[in-house]
């Protein structure tokens, strides 16, 4: 908080000390406390937004609207494909948020009217709001790859939203013969979880190495480079030899169509690959509601003011998580978590009629190459000239020459990370 902001803040707060005003639950003197805030979407962004709104201002009326009754974490869901992770250990209910005084509504949001400040759910019921935080995640651009649509995904999984799709892919791997070919198609940037396809290849290889060692994994990529590339390439080679082959876009990796009946991919240069198990990770854009609510730009993502995460297209609407244009921030669970906290703080400040605190953003992302070989990337971000940029000289990936012990510690931290961040969301 700058000095001038602090003065304003103190003025508004009257006799309340700065310390108590900034603390939890000491702000009832302020007129804004009776406001209503709706959070749309209960994932890594939305669950945290709801929780931190309530922590900062307990008398706020916070309503979280989420379609699913159970949340399944995408981070670490590749361990299910590896044969050792359990989907139930990645599954969480919303009772914890209810216990914190948040009203949880399991329904689909049909529309957001930013002028009238109303959210409508299926069946026509509406909720008025003072502010709304939208965290809809991503949806797939069905049809961007010819022959791949939602119906096809029931036999050729994307497994890019964890749950039944993850189980479907895991079962197909279990049913595959030794010597089979697994093809993963990876989309161009931007997309959810930039290291995810490459961790997936590694953890599928972990399974195949044990049970089907003559098999092969081919990643057909719409890009010429990818997240943590040096570390992944090193780890693949170290643990799986030549089992994983990565085909860059420049080498014909970008696909434009699939033939579902024969599990064949067709690249933009006409090359065909037939798979025994085909995993298509389609191109993505912001979740559906962001489009119907008029929150997206021409590319299908939601531009925001990085000082607050407020939409630049509609006032009093904030967008966090994979759906927003995060500048240098990757579309990650941790990134969504950090953005949600900035949005929650900005919403509370705006309801109090004060300037928002200067934001701080952090991302830390672990990937597993084996259960005992973890790698990470970290980034610290700041708002500058309307953009989210990395703090110069900070962050980065694990060193290439790290010891096995270092890799193991990072692997254990991946698990501790999941425990902490999901406890923060749902505990």
């Amino acid at each position: 908080m700058s000095n001038s902001n602090r003065r304003n803040f103190l003025k508004v707060m009257g006799g309340v000390s700065l310390a108590s005003a900034m603390g939890l639950g000491a702000t009832r003197a302020h007129a804004a406390v009776n406001a209503k805030v709706i959070v749309v979407g209960g994932g890594y962004g939305g669950a945290i937004a709801a929780k931190y709104l309530k922590m900062a201002e307990p008398s706020l009326d916070v309503v979280l609207i989420e379609k699913n009754k159970l949340f399944v974490s995408c981070p670490l869901s590749n361990t299910v494909l590896a044969g050792y992770g359990k989907i139930e250990n990645l599954t969480f209910g919303y009772e914890g948020l209810s216990r914190h005084g948040i009203t949880v509504v399991h329904d689909t949001v049909e529309s957001i009217d930013a002028q009238a400040r109303k959210v409508m759910i299926s069946g026509g019921k509406t909720f008025d709001y003072d502010r709304v935080i939208v965290s809809p995640g991503v949806d797939f651009k069905w049809g961007a790859i010819k022959g791949y649509d939602e119906a096809t995904s029931l036999t050729i999984p994307h497994a890019w939203k964890a749950g039944p799709q993850t189980t479907l892919l895991a079962n197909q791997l279990k049913d595959m013969k030794d010597g089979g070919v697994v093809i993963i198609t990876a989309p161009d940037n931007p997309f959810r979880c930039p290291p995810g396809p490459y961790e997936r290849a590694a953890l599928i290889a972990h399974y195949l190495k044990q049970y089907k060692p003559h098999s092969k994994i081919i990643i057909l990529d719409a890009k010429d480079k990818f997240s943590k590339q040096g570390l992944f390439t090193q780890g693949w080679k170290q643990h799986y030899g030549d089992m994983i082959e990565w085909v860059a876009a420049a080498k014909g990796g970008e696909i434009e169509a699939i033939d579902a009946a024969t599990r064949t991919t067709i690249s933009v240069v006409g090359a065909k690959h037939q798979a025994d198990v085909l995993n298509v990770i389609p191109p993505q854009h912001a979740g559906h509601i962001a489009h119907t609510a008029g929150l997206v730009n021409a590319k299908g993502w939601c531009p925001i003011n990085p000082l607050t995460c407020e939409s630049t297209l509609h006032k009093n609407v904030y967008v966090v998580g994979d759906a927003c244009v995060g500048g240098a921030m990757p579309k990650s669970g941790y990134g969504a978590n950090a953005q949600a906290k900035v949005a929650a703080a900005a919403v509370v400040a705006s309801l109090r009629g004060v300037e928002p605190d200067e934001p701080s953003y952090l991302n830390t992302c672990y990937s597993l190459i084996t259960p005992d070989h973890g790698i990470s990337v970290a980034g610290i971000y700041q708002a500058k000239d309307g953009q989210l940029i990395e703090v110069p000289g900070s962050g980065g990936v694990s060193p290439m020459d790290a010891s096995p012990a270092y890799r193991k510690i990072e692997a254990t931290h991946a698990n501790s990370w999941l425990k902490n961040i999901t406890t923060e969301m749902f505990g």
């Binding site: 908080m1 931190y52 900070s394 962050g395 510690i409 931290h413 990370w417 999941l418 902490n420």
Partner: protein, 190 residues
């Protein structure tokens, strides 16, 4: 690579934040970003990530600066600490130092802890006072109620040149079995 290993465990332990100002960013704003790994208000739920809420302010501040300049071993914390200036580190340290200590919820071996109590009294109490629960400023890190798996990572790498424990030569003379017992004693403390 021992260097890196040691630092890692150390690095993991620290975080930030609160009420004071920090180059425009409040300690709470920064500290909240740490929660994804270190838990809400620094109370970790993950057994290899240390609880940092309620640790001495000076301990957190020193560790963050050591991570930043590379004199304290780390995995990810060395990279993260480079994202913050002195003011911000000061603010986050203040934030975490003013949080309530929440002891880790973990199983303990009562007989081993009893044995560890005597070992602690003989070797550790003079610095880690009050059975390892002292949190006065300039006190060493609180160890009572800390995650055993985190402390184990730290001590496994105590020989590492980047491990900053001031009595490392002394610790290395204590047997592995004795350390296991002491850690069970700390786990039994809340």
């Amino acid at each position: 690579m021992r260097l890196q290993i040691a630092g890692v465990a150390l690095a993991i332990g620290l975080t930030f934040s609160a009420i004071s100002q920090a180059g425009g960013i409040s300690g709470r704003m920064i500290g909240n970003t740490c929660a994804g790994c270190h838990g809400v208000n620094g109370a970790s739920a993950g057994d290899t990530m240390p609880t940092i809420g309620g640790l001495p302010r000076s301990y957190i501040e020193n560790a963050m600066k050591q991570y930043r300049d590379g004199t304290r071993g780390a995995t990810v914390m060395g990279r993260i600490a480079k994202g913050y200036n002195d003011q911000q580190i000061s603010a986050m340290s203040e934030f975490f130092a003013t949080q309530q200590w929440v002891a880790a919820q973990q199983n303990t071996d009562a007989s081993l802890a009893q044995r560890g109590s005597a070992i602690h009294a003989e070797h550790c109490e003079s610095c880690h006072a009050k059975n390892g629960s002292a949190i006065a400023n300039d006190a060493p890190s609180r160890v009572a109620g800390q995650w055993v798996n985190y402390l184990q990572l730290y001590l496994d790498n105590v020989h590492d040149p980047l491990n900053k424990h001031p009595k490392k030569g002394y610790i290395m003379k204590i047997t592995k079995g004795e350390i296991d017992a002491v850690l069970q004693f700390y786990a039994s403390q809340k």
